[in-house]
């Protein structure tokens, strides 16, 4: 049986979800193409990490967002179990502080019902306090959405990619698509910095760059504008935390600054929403004003925030805001074989699995044949977290592999065995190790462990210690050995 070749450009949450879904078919050869050195480093890496319930999106204005969010929320329950992705389904509260806000809550409730969100309720002060003891006492009412949850988006991307690769998907890292070749009717070839890839189908899941990639085949009718959001992340010991996801009543541009506790147990506040010029697709700078705005708005939702001295990191992420505001999930108008999955702004993370299941349907509709694999593996095992297991299990792990007895990251208690396993699973950089293991994510922000991790990467990748990269190309931890500048 000859295989149809599918290239998914972009290994973020959307591309990775599609890769997993397409890996189920016997007669597809799936290539997942990523320009960065690791998967999930674009939009997926820095966002609010929320699995939305699905009441926000007006089905008349944004039909795709409204439809896929609710389905995605449902699908994540299964996917997180199959792939051992940690999620907490702790529910969200939208708080109102004025009559105007209250009216908005009733709008959300009505919209949620239309979108098919289950369990939504408007609740009053005493119940708000019962559900979230750190909620601001000034909150008059709240929309309680028990189906909302939290996930680690980066963990989700790596899990999806690992599972997809296990099922035969071919991953191309540090591969930038420079051109897309067509024969007049359909796409035939991708030209990349790493050579050419012959293709029958191309799926554009390139997040912020989706307009650039669409432009390569012409007739792109949309632009992607980066909308920047800034965040504070607190130390895991910082109190008080919140046990639910707290939102203000939404504004037209965004859902507002959220107060939430990540799956790793860190309180997080953010984001604001700053629209950047369309070309600033890498501008993830934090700003004094932006962070101030986040702090002020977050403070309104809770009784109190931990002291600022408990902040361990500030960061910013970009959301890909498309022309028109709705997800763009459709084949190219005239060119056969090119499908856009673009503008996956919020609730893009929540929607990703539901959107991914659209792709095989679309391929069938466009004339592809799809045959399911007999031996598709739906599961993936997560990296064992030494710090989370019992002392008895810790002893067993060390007896099996003494590297579990070497603590590399003291703040998060990450062992050498975990670091080595992260490298085995594809981490090539200190950032890649950090995102897979949490080494360097604690209060010292890597000051104690980065050098040790660099030495492990150097050993495992067989490169010189100073050649170890912190992040992408050009981010080497050193410029040479200690005496290199004296020899120049």
């Amino acid at each position: 049986m000859s295989k149809a070749r599918v290239a998914i450009i972009g290994a973020g949450i959307v591309g990775a979800s599609i890769a997993r879904v397409l890996s189920r078919y016997e007669n597809l050869e799936v290539h997942l193409i990523e320009m960065e050195v690791d998967v999930g480093w674009g939009v997926s890496k820095a966002n609010t990490a929320i699995l939305h319930a699905g009441y926000d999106d007006d089905p008349n204005l944004y039909p795709n967002r409204a439809k896929y969010c609710v389905r995605g929320n449902y699908l994540w329950r299964k996917w997180t179990k199959q792939l051992q992705i940690r999620a907490s389904w702790n529910g969200s509260l939208v708080l109102s502080f004025s009559e105007e806000d209250e009216e908005e809550l009733y709008n959300l409730l009505e919209r949620g019902e239309r979108n098919g969100v289950k369990g939504l309720r408007i609740i009053e002060k005493d119940e708000i306090q019962k559900l979230e003891k750190n909620a601001s006492p000034s909150a008059t009412l709240a929309l309680w959405a028990p189906t909302a949850g939290q996930i680690s988006p980066f963990e989700a991307v790596t899990a999806l990619v690992e599972n997809a690769v296990e099922n035969g998907v071919i991953l191309h890292l540090e591969t930038k698509v420079l051109d897309i070749v067509e024969d007049g009717t359909r796409v035939t070839k991708l030209v990349t910095n790493n050579g050419e890839i012959e293709v029958d189908w191309v799926i554009n899941a390139t997040g912020l760059y989706a307009d650039y990639i669409a432009e390569l085949v012409g007739g792109s009718e949309f632009k992607i504008t980066p909308r920047r959001g800034e965040y504070f992340l607190f130390d895991s010991t910082a109190e008080p935390k919140v046990s639910r996801i707290l939102f203000p009543a939404p504004k037209p541009k965004s859902k507002g600054v959220v107060v939430t506790t990540t799956v790793d147990g860190n309180l997080m506040i953010g984001p604001n929403a700053t629209d950047l010029p369309e070309e600033e697709k890498e501008n993830k700078e934090t700003t004094q004003e932006g962070l101030e705005e986040v702090w002020i708005n977050a403070s309104k939702l809770v009784k109190s925030l931990p002291s600022k001295s408990k902040v361990i990191k500030t960061f910013a992420g970009l959301r890909p805001e498309p022309t028109g505001g709705d997800f763009i999930i459709k084949p190219h108008d005239s060119l056969l074989g090119f499908i856009n999955v673009a503008g996956m702004r919020s609730p893009g993370l929540t929607s990703a699995p539901a959107v991914a299941y659209e792709i095989p349907k679309m391929l069938l509709h466009l004339g592809a044949r799809l045959v399911l694999k007999k031996n598709w593996n739906p599961t993936r095992k997560r990296i064992i977290r030494f710090s989370e297991v019992s002392n008895r299990r810790k002893n067993k792990l060390i007896a099996m592999n003494p590297l579990y007895g070497n603590i590399v990251c003291q703040c998060e208690m990450v062992t050498e065995a975990e670091v080595v396993e992260a490298i085995r699973r594809g981490a090539r950089t200190i950032e890649g190790v950090k995102l897979r293991t949490r080494a360097g994510m604690g209060r010292c922000q890597g000051a104690f462990c980065r050098a040790k991790i660099a030495m492990i990467l150097s050993r495992e990748l067989k490169i010189k210690p100073w050649q170890v990269r912190v992040k992408g190309a050009g981010s080497e931890i050193g410029v040479g050995d200690l005496f290199s500048l004296l020899h120049e």
Partner: protein
């Protein structure tokens, strides 16, 4: 399960000194637990001199100081657990504490009567000093850069900007210069340097490294590797002065903006914390609010000199030995130290008045011609100059304390009347 009289957690200078002192005082079963494969804490990476002038009466480098201390320790018999990381302490009761540690041999559960906690301090990160902008590579804390260079032999960068003129920052400025890097500036937000005068002279002036006082790093620019920093002049309230913003090109930014004692394991136990030192409230045996748990070295208070850390290790060991031999520290009407005027902190925070005590403190701001007064004992000490960078070390002896009937002692630093 092993049973000890004393477990010292942390094998830096104060920890080793504590183990040595405890053995010298006759404590039988002593263990020293450290996460590294070598003893000495950060000393082995401090290849500059200036260590040991008080303790060994010699000017030594960090590795030499360590070696001398370790040689002294080797003559005594106590258990050393290297490559062993303590991850939990349990306070069972007055006489029994459990220490959980992990090493390649598995999880160890050690039982002990007393603990000297000497796990050192950590450096504040770039996020804790409010710098905004991007988050590229090339940003290191001073200690991390030192580890990269002098433990692992990696040269972090060529064009260096250093934030903070504390001693660690100054030492690293010279260290980078010696290895051929171009140290473009040391930036200090305060109007005066944060480090010792000898270090300003020997580390900056001798290498023509500019020190920008009353300046602040605002923003980091660069995608994968840092390319520039945005700097501005600040006024007395540390606010950025308009139109004073400029940029410095660099590939490396070193953060040397203060140290924080690492007492998370003790915080988990619910010990009392002094917000001024961000470490435990201790009595004059350096015992915390939990009986039999003592703190010493930079985990207690960030010291200027290793000699002070050693001294605290010894005091804590004296406390631990008293605890072991007398089944606890004798009850006392502990006198609280109250602070007044230009004082950031003093430790210990509680004194018995029954024994000599060494007090360690810092001022809030530099001042000339000042006096330190302790009214309750009619003590007055004059200082020609005090600076936040220079710790005040003060010995109060038993005799002058014994007459005190009040429940507190008030330390105040103020201008001398001419």
């Amino acid at each position: 399960m092993y049973t000890y009289d004393l477990i010292v957690i942390g094998g830096g200078a104060s920890g080793i000194a504590a183990a040595i002192k405890a053995k010298e005082l006759g404590v039988k079963k002593v263990a020293l637990v450290d996460e590294k494969s070598y003893l000495g804490g950060v000393l082995p990476q401090c290849i500059h001199s200036g260590f040991g002038l008080v303790y060994f009466k010699e000017d030594l480098t960090g590795p030499e100081f360590t070696e001398k201390l370790v040689q002294k320790a080797k003559k005594l018999s106590f258990d050393v657990y290297s490559d062993t990381f303590v991850f939990k302490i349990i306070y069972r009761d007055y006489f029994e504490k459990l220490v959980y540690a992990v090493s390649k041999h598995g999880i160890k559960k050690l039982k002990t009567k007393t603990i000297v906690y000497s796990a050192g301090c950590r450096e504040r990160s770039i996020y804790e000093i409010g710098v905004v902008g991007s988050r590229p590579s090339g940003i290191f804390t001073a200690g991390e850069a030192q580890t990269l260079m002098d433990i692992y032999g990696i040269m972090p960068g060529k064009n260096i900007v250093i934030v903070g003129s504390g001693d660690v920052g100054l030492i690293m400025a010279r260290r980078f210069a010696l290895q051929g890097a171009n140290v473009k500036a040391v930036i200090e937000i305060m109007p005066y340097p944060g480090g010792l005068t000898r270090n300003i002279v020997q580390c900056l002036n001798d290498f023509n490294i500019p020190l920008l006082l009353s300046h602040s790093v605002l923003r980091v620019i660069g995608k994968d590797r840092i390319e520039e920093v945005e700097v501005c002049k600040v006024d007395e309230s540390k606010k950025c002065i308009e139109d004073s913003i400029f940029r410095i090109k660099c590939d490396t930014l070193i953060i040397s903006a203060g140290l924080v004692p690492r007492v998370e394991l003790l915080e988990d136990l619910g010990i009392s914390i002094d917000p001024l030192t961000k470490s435990a409230v201790v009595n004059d045996r350096l015992e915390t609010s939990l009986p039999g748990i003592f703190v010493a070295g930079n985990a207690l208070v960030v010291n200027d000199l290793v000699d002070y850390a050693v001294e605290q290790g010894e005091v804590a060991a004296q406390g631990a030995s008293e605890f072991v031999f007398n089944n606890g520290i004798s009850a006392a009407q502990w006198k609280k130290i109250k602070l007044n005027g230009n004082i950031r902190f003093f430790v210990p925070q509680l004194i018995s008045g029954e024994r000599d005590v060494i007090m360690y403190g810092r001022v809030i701001s530099p001042e000339e011609k000042v006096k330190l007064e302790i009214n309750e004992i009619k003590k007055e000490i004059s200082f020609f100059r005090v600076r936040p960078s220079e710790m005040i070390r003060l010995r109060l002896n038993k005799d002058e304390l014994s007459s005190v009937k009040t429940k507190s002692l008030t330390f105040s630093i103020s201008k001398r009347s001419e």
